[in-house]
């Protein structure tokens, strides 16, 4: 069962189409990275998923239930952090969580537990307004996970965190995922998403241009292989005949485009069969950032 399912979700403001036929399929217990440029429709999607924008078409299903019909019940199972963290400035860190405890009735230990999880226990008596930006972000995450939700919807959760904070939060998300939580997150830090996401959705101009597993996305593009050989000219000729696009030949080095692991194995085999000595091989996979830019460019013609 999908944790989040949308069926041709569309949204307009006036005559302007913000989202067009979005069919999100976020698998249960996965970590789904939602990517898109500024203004692509990410935040609108997230607000719709949380019921902060009205979807009259009954196109959103969370944990198998229609959001339109089971709004409050769904909110009990979903934690969220949208754009900037929300918290009550006049309350302390502890009081902000106590406020949620009154609603969710999780008990006193849960507050301490969550404060430990986000490493805010030393700041619990501080007014939320007096926290640093990174600490505020941690408080936002603490408020999102307080009620032990099955699904976390996080919009830019790593904003304002220092490198150590980013690593800690990444580990926290992994830990929550291992406990069986589904995490839907958008982030501009693509390298972080690449490290953590199991599934990726890419939106551009209000339309989904890719949705699938991270491996499916990374497998869509070729990788560059740099080979240092005893005879670069012969190697280049051989590989060209074998159908590999040669990108560059330079001294004893040949740079080739390789599609997948089978092609890579075939490349090595043909060099060895022709008794061309291989001194070194480096494989440069394209990272998520390059793939993202390529996909956006091709979507825009």
């Amino acid at each position: 069962m999908e944790s989040i399912l949308t069926k041709q979700l569309s949204f307009k403001i006036g005559s302007k189409i913000i989202l067009d036929d979005i069919n999100l399929q976020v698998p249960e217990k996965g970590i789904y990275g939602y990517l898109g440029r500024n203004g692509a429709g990410k935040s609108t999607t997230i607000k719709l998923l949380l019921g902060l924008l009205q979807d009259d078409t009954d196109a959103i299903f969370i944990q198998g239930e229609s959001l339109r019909d089971h709004r409050t019940g769904i909110h009990a199972k979903v934690g969220n952090l949208i754009e900037a963290p929300c918290y009550y400035t006049k309350l302390t860190v502890f009081e902000n969580l106590k406020y949620l405890d009154i609603i969710h009735k999780k008990g006193g230990n849960r507050i301490e537990e969550v404060l430990e999880m986000v490493d805010l226990h030393r700041e619990k008596k501080k007014k939320a307004s007096a926290l640093s930006m990174g600490m505020k972000q941690r408080l936002g995450i603490a408020m999102a996970i307080f009620h032990d939700p099955q699904l976390l919807i996080l919009d830019e959760p790593l904003n304002g965190l220092d490198p150590q904070g980013i690593v800690e939060m990444r580990n926290l998300f992994r830990q929550l995922n291992e406990q069986g939580k589904t995490i839907f997150l958008s982030s501009h830090i693509l390298s972080e998403l690449e490290k953590i996401a199991t599934h990726i959705g890419i939106i551009e101009g209000g339309k989904m241009i890719f949705q699938g597993t991270k491996n499916e996305l990374l497998g869509q593009v070729d990788q560059e292989v740099v080979i240092r050989t005893s005879d670069a000219g012969a190697a280049a000729l051989l590989l060209q005949h074998a159908g590999f696009p040669i990108l560059k030949t330079d001294g004893d080095t040949v740079v080739v485009n390789v599609g997948d692991d089978q092609q890579f194995a075939a490349l090595i085999k043909s060099l060895v069969e022709q008794q061309i000595a291989i001194y070194g091989i480096e494989s440069h996979s394209k990272d998520l950032e390059q793939i993202f830019i390529n996909l956006i460019d091709s979507a825009n013609g």
């Binding site: 949380l50 924008l53 969220n80 949620l100």
Partner: protein, 256 residues
């Protein structure tokens, strides 16, 4: 988790009671009554001793207290109601409010009940302070004659009618605070309406302006009027009307 009005009320109470604006509306009128009683004592000492006054509850304590109340209370109520909405405006906290597992209807009515209960307690404290001040003055200066008049009924109805008036004003201010995010508009409108209501207080149409009720509280105590009038009935209707308008505006607030 319980999606009940009671849970919503407990959470609202917890959050809002940690706001200084709330304590202002609760305590300032009470402190003011005691301050006026202190001023009366100071004046007596400075003028060489007390002299007998016909009905000092009305002419002395009531006149001073309600002269302040009719100007102070509506402004305090406007500030307090705005403070209750402002906690959600800051940081765009409506995002918290509308993603907790409690229905918007429960959240709205818990806020409304909290506002009305705070007003009720504020007036109860002020009412108690008023009676206590009169009693203390009667003990300190028996010559003034506080003990010679039983004015409790008029005082009770004056405070009751003031509660109705302030509840109507609170609901109007709630609608304005939900409509305008900026502090200027709800507070500005309340000040304008207060000044306007004093100017037109003698006109018959002023019965339909709840802000007139604050000024009328002073007139009620001076004229010993303890009956419900058209203004009071109109104010009860205004409470319901503006509560419904506020409910509609609150529902629309969820649409970011």
């Amino acid at each position: 988790m319980a999606n009940t009005l009671y849970t919503a009320f407990l959470s609202e109470k917890y959050k809002l009671l940690r706001n200084r604006g709330i304590f202002g509306v609760l305590i300032v009128p009470t402190l003011l009554v005691f301050a006026i009683a202190g001023y009366i004592s100071y004046d007596i000492v400075n003028s060489g001793g007390p002299t007998a006054i016909p009905n000092p509850w009305k002419v002395l304590l009531g006149r001073y207290v309600f002269q302040f109340f009719y100007l102070l209370y509506p402004i305090l109520v406007a500030l307090f109601v705005f403070a209750c909405c402002d906690v959600e405006y800051k940081n765009n906290n409506y995002k918290i409010l509308f993603t907790i597992p409690i229905s918007k209807t429960h959240i709205f009515f818990s806020k409304t009940i909290f506002i009305l209960l705070t007003l009720l307690f504020s007036l109860l404290f002020a009412y108690t302070a008023f009676l206590m001040s009169g009693y203390l003055l009667s003990q300190l200066y028996p010559v003034l004659g506080f003990q010679n008049y039983d004015f409790r009924e008029v005082i009770f109805y004056t405070f009751l009618k003031l509660f109705v008036t302030l509840s109507a004003i609170a609901m109007i201010q709630l609608a304005l605070s939900l409509l305008f995010r900026s502090f200027i508009y709800p507070i500005g409108i309340s000040m304008f309406m207060l000044a306007f209501s004093v100017l037109v207080a003698q006109k018959s149409f002023s019965d339909f302006i709840p802000y007139t009720g604050a000024y009328n509280a002073l007139m009620n105590i001076l004229s010993e009027n303890d009956s419900f009038t058209r203004l009071d009935n109109s104010n009860i209707l205004m409470i319901v009307l503006f509560m419904l308008i506020s409910f509609y505006l609150f529902g629309r607030k969820g649409q970011f």
